[in-house]
Amino acid sequence: MAVLPAGDRAVLRQEFARELSSSRSLCNATKTDLQAVVDALDTWLDSNAAAINTAIPLPASTMLTAKQKAQLLVYVIRRRFEVA
């Protein structure tokens, strides 16, 4: 899977900023700073997708689809950082 298109990356930054706004969470990162974070994380995930897949043990590794593994990754990250 390639990295996300620039438009999708921009939408992610916008959604995150709107979430911060609605909760009035303090954040002074500029639009440029936030976009750089989104871009870097997406690039890192793309570069390390194989390593993440390798970390998933058998037999589930072969039984789950790529999308299901991604869902589990979201679940784990969400719980680790207690984000909504």
Binding site: Q14, A17, R18, K31
Partner: protein
């Protein structure tokens, strides 16, 4: 009237909206506010009447802005006038001047403390030639994409008051 005299005061409760990309009404500690997005240019309209003792000179639009999440950075605002004179403007179509005036403001270091953005309109074309005693509409836009100047705050700007005064 003299320089600095107040001509009109608008609160978020006296707003009207365009069909799309409009500011969102909100409350902060029960203060009504209008949230202007950090990415998309959003607008709000305020309808008023220029006082009959308006001197006919330039005016300043003061926008009192808070920020939902930022305590640093800059936001950019634009304003425009639409004269709604008797026997003049057809309300079925917008007739703002289309030549917005703009200015920037800096977020206060304390969240919840307002900043003031002051935008000057010279008398005449920049005000759509609104005269004393005439109805008008004021457009307020956050220039979130920074077309007219720097707007680097990613999150919402909250407008609490809009005041028009003599320059």
């Amino acid at each position: 009237m003299a320089s600095g005299d107040t001509l009109a005061v608008f609160t978020p409760l006296s707003v009207s909206f365009p069909a799309s990309n409009f500011a969102t009404p909100d409350l902060r500690n029960n203060h009504p506010t209008l949230d202007f997005d950090g990415t998309t240019d959003e607008e709000a309209y305020f309808e008023g009447v220029m006082p009959s003792n308006y001197g006919g000179g330039s005016v300043v639009v003061d926008i009192y802005v808070g920020f939902s999440s930022a305590t640093s950075g800059s936001a950019r605002f634009q304003t425009d006038f639409e004269r709604v004179a008797s026997g003049g403007t057809d309300l079925d179509a917008d007739s703002f001047t289309g030549s917005m005036q703009s200015a920037g403001g800096t977020a206060n270091g304390t969240s919840g403390v307002l900043s003031k953005v002051s935008i000057t309109h010279t008398a005449g074309a920049q005000m759509d030639s609104v005269a004393a005693g005439e109805p008008f509409r004021l457009l307020v836009r956050r220039d979130a994409d920074g077309t007219s100047g720097t707007d680097d705050i990613a999150t919402d700007a909250e407008v609490y008051r809009v005041v028009i005064r003599e320059a």
